[in-house]
């Protein structure tokens, strides 16, 4: 047997109160696509941060071998030197800089003093070709869609001779088309001899691309599977990940009981001063009590803008049209007003505008409904602890204590905190924007179950999602958006992936 290109032996990494990695062994063959899967908080990102030197040598125990050689990385630079490149769960591009400036950020092409922009640009063009991205290198990052930004990230990683490319949930924020492009690119890189380690919660794409799969659970290696030899399929994988089998990823709702109309938009339009154009055009939708309404569409089709424009319009679009809540016209001037009318909005970007990362779990959960735990003007911190612990156990949030800073939770567990915060508001209408982005299968199932029980109790849910199976599996009715317009509406029985896609790309 040839030496593996990468071997991590008995890796243990502790944070205060958490053993994130417990004697993990991880071995990758040269030239393969190796997928790393596991529940939220299993330790996937941490393992890769150890590998790339973010958690420096000495802060963990165990050994890392690259092509048989022991490595002691003290930082990203060291691992880059050894031919390892990592793309993080969160994009790390600078929006105001151009594509080529981002690609060479930190490694500027220069004569020692002055940056050689012509040389940079010509090199950038070559690298962009490699990742199949056809954009002008002078374009600013902020003017690209997320799919293209992701490719720029990869281009940035590929500028050096890369032997091992690590991608931490690269497709979490991508739609199907962009995801497929990315997988295609990974196949291409594999042909060029680059070894890829891919972390993903989208098991379908894992099955599609992996040669080998390693499953982590609670900081330990559960198993490493050869996809062909071991005849791996999704149910088997799920069983390894969560320790039990899940028969139907989308739980069925017992009593579908659709009631009165609770929300209606009439000729709802919005103009963004920042972008200088209309972002919503004559939207008419209606939502009933006890109903889950799915909103499908491509990235940038105006779904998040629609949610924000209803939810008190924090971005100050110029609005026209009417909103009716429970039959009464409402003019919300701020999210505060919307919350008072018993609405909730779980944002898609939990780090950017969903959570206070530097604050702890309990303060985040109580933030939008402090009045419930305030008596005589004073917050009852003991009640707060009870409430936070309640949501922690209901949503199965993995954290050593509710005093933990949210920043230190894994991505999926942050999402659950965000959900807990809005459940505590006890809303009548809940807008969920990409509710299961970055969430593991087990937790997805839990969230779907919670959604079902909420609507059974008469709540209404508007679910914005880029994952078509989720839209089809959970909604009662579906709207498809495209370029700020509603392009179609259908009950779920009449919907299909192809039908939705056709409407979504029809401008």
């Amino acid at each position: 047997m040839e030496t593996p290109i990468l071997e991590m032996k008995s890796i243990t990494k502790e944070f205060p109160g958490v053993k994130a990695l417990d004697n993990v062994t991880f071995s990758v063959r040269k030239g393969e696509v190796h997928c790393l899967v596991g529940e939220n908080g299993a330790g996937k990102s941490t393992l890769m941060k150890v590998l790339s030197g973010v958690h420096a040598f000495g802060t963990y125990t165990g050994d890392i071998f690259v092509e048989g050689e022991l490595q002691k990385f003290n930082g990203i630079r060291d691992s880059e030197h050894a031919g390892i490149a990592i793309i993080y769960q969160e994009l790390a591009l600078i929006p105001e800089l151009s594509v080529y400036e981002n690609i060479f950020l930190g490694n500027e092409v220069s004569n020692g003093i002055v940056i050689d922009s012509n040389e940079s640009i010509s090199q950038a063009i070559d690298i962009l070709k490699k990742v199949g991205l056809d954009v002008n290198p002078l374009t600013k990052i902020k003017n690209l869609g997320v799919g293209k930004q992701q490719l720029v990230e990869i281009a940035k990683a590929l500028k050096k001779d890369v032997r091992i490319l690590i991608l931490d949930e690269p497709t979490a924020a991508l739609n199907e088309t962009d995801s497929d492009n990315l997988l295609q690119l990974i196949r291409g890189l594999k042909e060029q001899g680059v070894t890829c380690i891919l972390i993903s919660h989208k098991l379908r794409e894992v099955m599609e691309i992996a040669d080998t799969i390693t499953v982590l659970r609670d900081g330990k290696t559960v198993t490493t599977l050869d996809v062909e030899a071991d005849k791996v399929n999704e149910p088997v994988l799920i069983k390894h990940m969560v320790g039990r089998s899940i028969d139907n990823i989308f739980p069925k709702r017992e009593n579908v009981n659709i009631g009165e109309e609770v929300l209606r938009l009439e000729n709802w339009s919005a103009f963004s001063y920042a972008l200088g154009r209309d972002i919503l055009k004559n939207v008419n939708i209606s939502v009933h009590a006890g109903e889950i309404v799915g909103i499908a569409g491509l990235m940038g089709s105006g779904r998040t803008e629609l949610a924000k424009s209803i939810f008190g319009n924090p971005d100050h679009y110029r609005l026209s049209g009417k909103v009716f809540i429970n039959g009464k016209e409402q003019k919300f001037r701020s999210p505060h007003d919307a919350i008072k009318s018993s609405m909730a909005y779980v944002t898609e970007d939990r780090k950017g505008n969903g959570l206070i990362l530097i604050d702890d779990v309990k303060h985040n959960i109580s933030l939008a409904n402090l009045k419930e735990i305030t008596t005589g003007g004073v917050i009852n911190e003991n009640e707060e602890i009870l409430i936070a612990n309640k949501y922690r156990s209901e949503l199965n949030i993995k954290t050593p204590t509710i005093q933990q800073k949210v920043r230190n939770l894994s991505g999926g567990n942050q999402q659950k905190v965000s959900l807990g915060k809005w459940l505590f508001v006890k809303p009548g209408i809940m807008i969920l924007d990409e509710p299961t982005r970055g969430i593991d299968v087990g937790a997805k199932y839990e969230i779907y179950t919670i959604m079902n029980s909420l609507v059974e109790q008469g709540m209404s849910i508007i679910m914005i999602s880029s994952e078509l199976p989720e839209v089809l599996g959970m909604s009662d009715r579906i709207y498809v958006m495209s370029a700020g317009k509603i392009n179609g509406e259908m009950p779920v029985e009449d919907a299909s992936q192809e039908g939705i896609m056709a409407l979504a790309v029809d401008y």
């Binding site: 205060p16 909005y345 969903g354 206070i356 303060h363 933030l367 402090l370 917050i379 003991n382």
Partner: protein
């Protein structure tokens, strides 16, 4: 079985102690640093530093900066800065002097009027920041220039205005009266000791009450031993400070004002929804807005509070000097900002406590007072204070990163 229980109890004790130390290390560190600094000066000045008279003076000198530091903490917590507070304090001090001496207003009208003016000035400065997103750096710098001009304008004809109102002058120089207990404990200020005793009793009672409530919720509480140790420490501290103060005139009116300000702001920031909202806006304004918190409303409130505290600072300073001068307030903002940063406020927002900034103010004032006693030249004093400021912030960054 019994044995096991004891063991787990001990494990619990050491763990909770360690946890407390770890989570609060930067705050405890500044407190320890303060004590080290005080001991250092006590030794180098043969005990003059810790004498009742010097400590009493130190507190009176610190008062008008410390109240500013309290407001500055909140300003920095919500990611802004306030550069106009020194000039505003100077201007409002002059306004008080004019109202008292030239217009003949009674003091009971002057003080509320000045406080209202302070609030209005804060709201005015905040308007471009809250409404249009103008950087506070610019808006408050401009306001500072305007207040400075206003101060020069109102003192133009007269120069320094001498204040003769005894009540007003007592604010910065006077002490609370003593009880006529004659021969009992001669040389000591009895009322100060009694207040200290009441303070000890109240803090013990409230600690016991909070522990009881926690237990009734079935929450973990620190072990009984640790709890007693905490009580002893706090009581000892209050007792010692009252003892020192009682050796020289007792509690000053400046200290009374400072304690009230700290109590009110500590309560608001730690116990009320408003406090939570302030920290949420500092931690992530967008997330706060989407949680139903009006960022602009919080901005107005914090700047208004800062304006109110500037008015108190101005009154305390004018009263201490028994006059309004053309240079009053010069550089106060720098001292307040320094105190806040030494006390652990983070410029990135969302982090910083009132008590921390008070400790920061004490550190800076102790340095000044101690070095004055040692007859160290003012040039060296500036260098030392600058070095301490930067060291404190560096240490704070390092401990935070390690968490």
């Amino acid at each position: 079985m019994e044995d096991l229980k004891v063991k787990s109890n001990q494990a619990h004790l050491s763990k909770s102690l360690l946890d407390i130390m770890k989570t609060n290390i930067s705050q405890y560190f500044m407190f320890i640093a303060l004590i080290v600094i005080m001991i250092f000066f006590t030794v180098t000045t043969d005990g003059v530093f810790i004498s009742s008279r010097n400590i009493s003076n130190l507190i009176n000198q610190m008062g008008y900066i410390a109240v500013l530091a309290v407001g500055m903490t909140l300003i920095i917590v919500i990611r802004h800065i306030e550069l106009s507070v020194g000039y505003l304090a100077g201007f409002l001090g002059a306004f008080s002097a004019i109202a008292l001496t030239f217009w003949g207003w009674p003091i009971y009208a002057v003080i509320p009027a000045v406080m209202i003016l302070g609030i209005l000035a804060g709201l005015l400065t905040a308007t471009p920041v809250a409404k249009l997103g103008v950087p506070a750096f610019v808006s408050t710098m401009a306001a500072g220039l305007i207040f400075r001009g206003a101060l020069l304008l109102v003192t133009m004809g007269t120069g320094t205005i001498v204040i003769r109102d005894p009540v007003f002058n007592a604010i910065g120089n006077g002490y609370i009266p003593d009880l006529p207990l004659g021969g009992f404990l001669p040389g000591k200020h009895k009322l100060t000791l009694i207040i200290g005793l009441i303070g000890i009793i109240l803090s013990i009672l409230s600690a016991i009450k909070s522990r009881r409530t926690k237990l009734s919720y079935n929450f973990q509480v620190p072990s009984f031993g640790l709890f007693i140790a905490q009580l002893v420490l706090i009581s000892g501290l209050i007792g010692y400070i009252s003892w020192i103060l009682s050796g020289y005139n007792g509690i000053s009116w400046s200290l009374v004002i400072l304690l009230l300000v700290v109590a009110v702001f500590q309560f608001i920031t730690t116990k009320t929804p408003l406090g939570r909202h302030i920290y949420a806006v500092g931690g992530n304004p967008e997330a706060a807005e989407l949680s139903g918190i009006s960022v602009s409303k919080i901005t107005y409130i914090v700047f208004a509070a800062m304006g109110l505290l500037s008015s108190l600072s101005g009154i305390m300073y004018a009263s201490r000097l028994r006059s309004a001068t053309t240079t009053a307030g010069l550089g106060f903002e720098t001292d307040a900002i320094a105190a806040a940063f030494v006390g652990g406020v983070s410029a990135a927002g969302g982090v910083g406590t009132i008590t921390g900034s008070i400790i920061g103010a004490l550190v800076m004032m102790s340095l000044t007072s101690g070095m004055n006693l040692m007859n160290i030249d003012i040039s060296i004093q500036y260098i030392v204070r600058g070095a301490v400021l930067v060291l404190a912030v560096v240490f704070d960054r390092i401990t935070r990163r390690n968490q």
